[in-house]
Symmetry: C2
Subunit: 251 residues, 2 copies
Amino acid sequence: MNRKPATASNPGDRPVEACRDCAAYKSCFCHAIMCIAEAGENDGGAAAIAYQDQTIAARRAICRENETLDGVPFICKGWAATAVALSDGRRQILSFLLPGDIVSAILIFDPVSRCSIEAVTELQVRTLARDDIKAALLRHPDLMDMISDIRDHEVARAAQLSIDLGRRTAIERIAQLILQLSERLARCGLMHDGVMDFPLRQHHIADATGLTVVHAGNILADFRRGGLIEISGRSLKLADPDGLRRIAGAL
Amino acid sequence: MNRKPATASNPGDRPVEACRDCAAYKSCFCHAIMCIAEAGENDGGAAAIAYQDQTIAARRAICRENETLDGVPFICKGWAATAVALSDGRRQILSFLLPGDIVSAILIFDPVSRCSIEAVTELQVRTLARDDIKAALLRHPDLMDMISDIRDHEVARAAQLSIDLGRRTAIERIAQLILQLSERLARCGLMHDGVMDFPLRQHHIADATGLTVVHAGNILADFRRGGLIEISGRSLKLADPDGLRRIAGAL
DNA sequence: CGTGAGCTTGACTTGTTTCAACCAACGTGG
DNA sequence: CCACGTTGGTTGAAACAAGTCAAGCTCACG
């Protein structure tokens, strides 16, 4: 792994193209840690954070369940998904990762990944050295607070996912999924006139909502016919966000 | 809240009747923190952990979703459940808490509970002062490691729950639930000849597995008729654990 | 040009929910 | 002591949601 710091001299070459949930988090951990990495360069490299950049093809796995990871991966560009699987092949997607997402805060402390991480689109990933991050955390107590917030957020989303899967109908789940993704993207400024990137395949939607591909596809078709959404190529337009919210139902 | 330490002079008066998952955790956080509370007494009370004991009737809530808690509750006796709810009343139980369980490691850092906590049986709860726990964590770094383990464990269980709800059939979910509870109880030494306390009502099982009460009841009846389990009063016997495991299916 | 991944649609089957009725156990207050 | 409401469990029939199977289609890619 290189011991060179993140270079951001070229303005078109920011390591992270967008930042998830910046409004929700007190601040963006991913950006903060990159800044620290860059600052480390200035004081002689002693506090630099080693990293490695990787490009991963769509549909390839970054890591498998229970695999030990050398570093802590951050999504710089593209979409990824975390999933767990049963031995007979049934899978459940736990979360979608957007640019600026740390895969999981746990990976900073525990090198063993509890879920597989798979590229949805072509992906750019920057993997930071775990020990260097830990050292940075000790030097910057506010970073530790951010991590704590991210962890809380992860737990809250896990609870949300459980009640979605356990107690909501298929229609509600899919409406909910689309709305949540749209909100995350909107917060990053990645939504324009209700149109957003939507690289998910139907099997991603099915695996995220606990449905079969066929059923998920049918419901999407219903949404399209009902004028709620418009899908073309790899982008999705929220034609009737309020209608979707009504369908997504009870908070 | 009393500033008196936990008294355990009376041998029949241990604050915690049993300790969950002691084999799985490196050590039991709950016991450790009680020991520290007691030790605090000896050095003049400066390091004592303030606490309050409470008895809660079955079916009563300890706290509601998004409620702010003064202290950090530990289950000393009885069973409890954590749950989230939709506004129309649909509920999902996230976990059952057995004696020796901390409700959630997050409550040490974040005073706002993300889920409701409800007594399944009559319950004895000891609530420790949050600031005192935090101070103890700083004095005892190994406690911090335990918390980290507990958090990891919570995340892993959340992932497990998600795939259970999303991808398993009703029968698998119920078999799985019974097996997991039996394993936790066995680890505490609360299982004798395959017989364990089983105070759950059918609506608990339904809410934990994302099913209706009627369907959960039917499946339990099937299990009974199939000679897999025997239920009498408030206890359950694993008549055919291997059969159950076969039904619970793929890991 | 062939191949594989992905989407759509329809007919059919299965799993699960809903509704409803009934019964047993239990605690409470008259 | 009994009447009564509440809580919990059981069962059956009917309605519905979701899964399975199958076929045909487009599109991108080598």
